[in-house]
């Protein structure tokens, strides 16, 4: 694998996480549990899709094969997506939406803080921008974790169930492969071991404040680094890519 190929893959990984999770949240637009939350999830979706757009643009430039940001978003198949399994999980009830978002926000908060120091100036700039936005997302979702965990018996049961179900997808957040190895040498990538220490600490703190227990002895699912996904992604892509495939080259 060349350095260039590694960088393209790295950008796709980051972009896909934001694009797929942003799309998931956008499914709630107009259907949020109440007005303020509808606006909040739509705002977060907008930030994530905006970040994905910049990252896809950069991936397309580095790749240099004449593909555009739209080609990358709408004309790749399921096995060519590198978003985490966590990002593609369905919204289900509000507790699942919030738990998925909180676990991701906590990761992104520390990840993008580290990426600001990247030797790749473009990624460092995108990280600086993204980190400011993620700070707001994390504050929002960590408060919800507390509210749901300490709320009623029903809300507590639901948020604990959500965490129990999603926990198996958190292991691969920190998985590193050849791409990371190559880019770590160049001081471009983030060492995910560093992120893991901070993530563990923050998640434990928020869970403790919320009366949520950390699941134990969970078998961790993996595969997204090689483009292997849960069955959820295919359905999402079918909807997200439909317009572009039905009307090739269509523009907003």
């Amino acid at each position: 694998m060349t350095n260039q190929e590694a960088l393209v893959n790295y950008c796709l990984r980051l972009a896909d996480n934001n694009l797929i999770l942003g799309h998931r949240l956008s499914e709630l637009s107009g259907k949020g549990p109440f007005l303020e939350e509808d606006i909040a999830t739509t705002n977060i979706a907008l930030d994530l899709i905006g970040q994905a757009s910049s990252l896809l643009q950069y991936a397309a430039e580095v790749e240099g094969k004449g593909r555009t940001e739209d080609d990358l978003a709408f004309l790749r198949g399921e096995r060519e997506f590198y978003n985490t399994l966590l990002a593609e999980q369905e919204n289900k009830d509000f507790a699942v939406t919030i738990a998925r978002q909180f676990l991701t926000d906590a990761f992104d908060y520390f990840f993008y803080d580290e990426l600001k120091k990247s030797a790749d100036a473009r990624l460092a700039a995108l990280a600086e921008k993204s980190h400011k936005e993620i700070t707001y997302h994390l504050r929002h979702t960590s408060k919800w974790m507390e509210r749901l965990g300490e709320g009623t018996e029903e809300s507590h049961r639901r948020i604990q169930d959500a965490v129990d179900n999603l926990w198996r997808f958190t292991g691969e957040l920190f998985e590193m492969n050849e791409v990371d190895e190559i880019l770590l040498k160049e001081k471009i990538a983030v060492d995910l071991n560093v992120v893991k220490i901070q993530w563990d600490k923050l998640v434990a703190e928020v869970f403790a404040n919320s009366g949520i227990s950390i699941p134990e002895n969970v078998f961790m699912q993996r595969g997204s680094r090689e483009g292997k996904h849960t069955e959820k992604l295919g359905y999402l892509l079918a909807e997200m890519q439909h317009l572009h495939r039905a009307f090739p080259g269509v523009q907003w």
Partner: protein, 164 residues
């Protein structure tokens, strides 16, 4: 040359922000620079938020304005760094926001010294009755850059242009 960029800056100062039309895109701090390469005008802009849907409109507005003023070759470049901050907003712009019913961003407090999970430690003044007795309704508002507040004295809800 300098005269010309000054002139262009002045023209850009007449373009209102598409979402908050009482302030211009220059006052908002979105325009980062104007330069000339031969007879080509290069305007550099930066987004307030990554997904700000107004960016396309802003680009179009700049393009049309300069075209109308007789410029033939126009290039608009978008930069991400340094990342936009509410600190770039001009003081006069903050007054205009207040008059329009949007509480302007407070002085930026260094985010690093605060706990990750706590809210901004700020008191926001109601743009309607000037009371400081207000509370946050939601961190997210009608556009990416605003939060929702409510005044506990005049009971009016209002937008707060949040610090970033």
């Amino acid at each position: 040359m300098e005269l010309q960029t000054d002139h262009i800056n002045q023209l850009l100062g007449q373009i209102p922000d598409p979402e908050i039309p009482v302030i211009s895109i220059v006052e908002l701090g979105v325009v980062r620079g104007v330069s000339m390469e031969g007879d080509k005008v290069i305007v550099t802009i930066t987004p307030t938020y990554s997904g700000c849907p107004a960016m396309r409109t802003i680009e179009m507005d700049i393009f049309n304005k300069l075209k109308d003023e007789g410029f033939e070759h126009i290039e608009i470049r978008t930069v991400q760094s340094p990342a936009w901050t509410t600190d770039w907003m001009a003081e006069e712009a903050k007054e205009k926001l207040r008059a329009y019913g949007i509480a302007p961003p407070n002085e930026h407090i260094n985010q690093r010294v605060r706990s990750i999970l706590s809210d901004e430690v700020t008191h926001v003044q109601c743009p309607h009755c000037a009371s400081w007795n207000t509370h946050l309704t939601s961190q997210f508002g009608s556009t990416a850059c605003k939060a929702l507040y409510k005044c506990d004295d005049c009971l009016e809800p209002f937008d707060y242009f949040k610090c970033i």
